[in-house]
């Protein structure tokens, strides 16, 4: 499951998945094997109402109750009954084996009733759990890679610093640049709603339109003075190594790029005024760094969100499952 093949600490750390030499994977496989063998051999064929059905149902219900206790064990920081890692390992493998146990328990009888609802909820819980295992396996290393030694706090501080410095530089170029910069800084979006966190923030359309109008207007004024564009565009390309960003991380690119384009226009419009050109160049550098930071921050938020989102499905569904399970058991005994 792990993404990296050359990890520094391969021999130091042991993942919860391989805990104690895959003890719980073996246990889960043995449990499945026993259940399947008994199911095949059982006469009459198993369903909810047979002795085997009851046995499998009891095992399944106990498993579900125990699996749900991970949340309790995790927060019992003084508990000495095994380690949380061991519990997590057992939770994963025994949780997966539950699919086999429960399916055999119902003997493949499905219908539009509370029994199948409990089954469906269980499958949904397991499915979200599988997503969790995949996410826990892949995303941590991606987060570290994206961090590149930085921390969120330091990044935010640097962003503030860049905003301040770029305004100072902009002041030296002219009030119009200052204005544009302020607008652009106002539009930097970090994090936001759940949707923004998962897929990257978007700008509201009104702001977009307003900004685009402004940019067009300024660009036109400048273009009327000069016509050189291409060389500056290339500079932007080299300044922006993060252009090869992963799919869907489109954070602020229109915004940052528009600002940069505006700056580029300014640069090309300068009549060889070396000092202004220098200012604009340093402003471009700052904006490129800002762009990189904002991208990284939003990617960091996104990766964290992707890593945690499943718990918001897994845990509530577990409670729903427990409720459905109780109804299922009670109704079976009352209305049999």
């Amino acid at each position: 499951m792990r993404m990296h093949d050359s990890n520094a600490s391969d021999t130091l750390h042991e993942s919860f998945l391989s805990f104690a030499g895959f003890r719980y994977l073996k246990l889960a496989l043995a449990l499945c094997l026993v259940c399947v063998m008994t199911y095949i051999c059982a006469r009459p064929p198993a369903s909810g109402g047979t002795w085997l059905g009851y046995s499998l149902g009891t095992i399944g219900a106990l498993l579900i109750a125990w699996l749900a206790l991970l949340g309790v064990r995790k927060r019992s920081y003084h508990a000495t009954l095994g380690t949380v890692k061991g519990w997590a390992s057992a939770h994963v493998y025994l949780g997966l084996s539950l699919v086999v146990v429960a399916t055999l328990h119902c003997g493949f009888h499905f219908g539009w009733n509370v029994h199948t609802l409990a089954y469906a909820l269980m499958i949904a819980v397991v499915a979200s759990g599988i997503y969790g295992i995949v996410a826990y396996g892949r995303l941590p290393a991606q987060i570290t890679g994206n961090r590149a030694g930085g921390t969120l706090e330091a990044w935010i501080e640097e962003l503030d610093d860049i905003a301040e410095r770029s305004l100072k530089v902009a002041d030296q170029i002219g009030p119009d640049v200052h204005q544009v910069l302020i607008r652009s800084a106002e539009r930097v979006r970090i994090g936001g709603s759940l949707r923004d966190q998962l897929f990257g923030p978007r700008m509201t359309k009104a702001v977009d339109r307003q900004y685009e109008q402004l940019r067009q207007q300024l660009a036109t004024t400048l273009r009327s003075k000069t016509g050189r564009f291409t060389s500056i565009q290339m500079q932007w390309q080299t300044l922006s190594p993060t252009e090869k960003k992963p799919r869907r991380v489109t954070v602020n690119v229109p915004d940052a790029q528009s600002t940069v384009m505006f700056m580029a226009d300014q640069l090309s419009g300068m009549d060889q005024d070396a000092r202004d050109a220098e200012h604009i160049r340093s402003l471009l550098d700052l904006l490129a760094r800002r762009h990189d930071l904002v991208t990284r921050i939003n990617r960091d938020i996104r990766l964290h969100a992707l890593m945690q989102i499943w718990l918001y499905v897994h845990v509530p569904l577990t409670f729903a499952l427990l409720a459905a399970l109780i109804v299922h058991i009670v109704s079976v005994f009352l209305y049999r």
Binding site: S15, H78, P140
Partner: protein
Amino acid sequence: MAARFKIAVIGSGPSGLSAAAHAAELGLSHILLEAQSHLSNTLYRYQKGKHVMAEPGVLPLRSPMSFAAGKREQILDTWQEEVARHGVNVCHNAEVVGLTGEKGAFTLNLADGGTVEAEYVVLCIGLQGNLRKMGCPGEDASFVQYQLDDPDEYQNEHIVVIGAGDAAIENALALCDHNTVTIVNRREEFDKAKAANNAAILKAIQDGRVRCVYNAGVGSVSKQPGRNPPGVLTLNTATGEARIPCHRVIARLGATPPRKFVESCGIHFPSEDPTSLPAVSATYESNVPGLYIIGALAGFPLIKQAMNQGYEVIEFIEGRKAEPADEPLLRRKLGGLPGFVDVDQALEVIRSRVPVLAPLTRLQLREFLLDSELRAPSPGEVIFQRNDYTDSFYSIVAGTVDVQIDPDDPSRILSLGGGEFFGEMSLISGRRRSATVRAGGQCVLIETPRRSMSKLIHSVAAVKRVVDEAFLRRAIQSNIAPDVPIEALSEVVGTASLLAFKAGDSLFNEGDTGDGIHLIRRGSVTVSRTIGGREVVLAYVPAGQYVGEMALISDLPRTATARAAVAVETIRLEPAPFKALLARFPVVRNHIQEQFRTRVASNFDAQQQSAERSGIIGFMMAQGLGEATDVLLIDESLCIRCDQCEKACATTHGGVSRLDREAGPTFQNLHVPTSCRHCEHPHCMKDCPPDAIKRLPGGEVSISDACIGCGNCERNCPYGVIHMGVEDNSQPSLWRWMLFGGREPGSAPPKKGKDSIKKATKCDMCKSLPGGPSCVRACPTGAAMRLSPEAFLHASQRR
């Protein structure tokens, strides 16, 4: 007619107050003369709210006045109240300007023209009444001051602080939040100050909170009327004259004995040195009979000592023999000594039986024994186990102890007799005990804690020499030549030299000719070779082991570079006597050759591995692995950032997490969070006033409840793992949270009020819990683990 008294006490500091109060208590006719309109001027002029400490902690107070560590205001109020209660005859605004006469008939002249007559005079004027001035034009200008009472009095000023001592640094740091502060240092370092203050001022300078002018002397101070700021300070610096406009100059240049006045009383000083103090007898009497000196002027700057002297001096004047305040404590401590008569006799016995303590003065020996414990273990009792992390030092007063030199064979034993000492190995190297020691017959030991022993080693050169020599002999014997009699080692020991290396220095370089074998006394060393133009680390060698034996055996140039990972001390053994030893004892040669062979093999293995491993070792060394005993490592490819580790830590330790998961550097996927490394020589222990930081037998460095919250350890820790916090032991219920919400277990507790005292908190490896550190046990994915450097290097080598 002048007023006449039996005893005149000059100065109302701690010693004067105590003396006058005792005189009042005994109903003697007395007068306490104080130049100011308030009591205890030195304490009165302390910064507002300053915490006054009551050192030394073990010394009992014997005085009618009470005193305990606390805030300046609290102490002054208590004293004021007690002076009134005891009916002390205080005369304020009575500055003594002259003293004449002799025992039985002294005359004291006061500044206001009045006179006082007394049979005995007790001089307790301290040193602070005579602050050292700048000695330049303008030194008394209106904006120049030599004290700082309340730093909050000044806002938005440009203030120049002159001086490089603790007072100057503390003033500069207290002022710099609301003012622009420049500190002027005559030299280029602040090393005369306490280590914590030194670090704090350097950091403030680095952060730009305080400006500093080094190597500068004060030229003059002048006013610039009508301008803002109103003053200007001229400095003579290495590059010429510098003018600093300022609102205020605060010069903290220390104090000198008010020599002129003291000499005018007829008292002699032993030398011309301005800091020298007058000599006094055992009863505090000066060379002028009837004139007594106590307190800081007599060389006892600590408040509690001075107060005890105040009591004693009145007893002496009354012709009684006052036994020292620590006498009952020592009597209780030494009572167990066989044939005990009294404390003096017991001190003599100890001094004659234990040569290492012979060079101590009587006062030093008393202090040493106050800190120590006398133990009389029954035969066979284990004093410490091999691999324990204890670090106290033992001197044998009587009987014997048995040192088990071979961990695998309990029958091999080295016996130490009366007068010898043991435990110095762990004291010096900071590592685990190297052998188990059991008591022999009729054993009486003095057990001394690490801090007292280190203090003694650093202040008495003779003790250091004896302990160093024993360390050398025993280190050679246990590591290199286990079966060789001590006598045969004398030449090797005699020619050995003690060397010190800074972190990063090399002990020797690849290609050098071999100049001896280095036995590592403290710190740790990395062994590396240059392969393909890059330095590749092959091995890590901790204290107690040796490096450089290859060159001696093979006569070839050094095959590798040995580099100090942290500050390192080594003992270098000269090649010639060492080779002679090898020739005489084949067993030593075999031992070294065996070690040599394993080294070559493991280095060969290490060399086969990728450069990546070397990078990892380099990274970990930079993170303090070289001096760590146990470090928390997080595999970031497994870490799901759930912060369970922090929550577990906070829950275990009163809501204050002692680790910061996210902070700290990462190399590849290996993350070293901000968490205690339990160093071999913990930096935090260096300057702890109540000695509250201890190393436990398991190796955990932990802070006890004795912490006074001074923050020295926080500043001294190079890894930033100590935080000042208020712990709160209320635990939210898990089930209540699950059913009704509210505070989740592991979340931060509600903020406490400002008045709660912050104490230092740091990792103690969850010593109170069974099963090890809770951060590791709470990690759901196996990303967090704690391990020793040896285990880390071993594991990284296996790859």
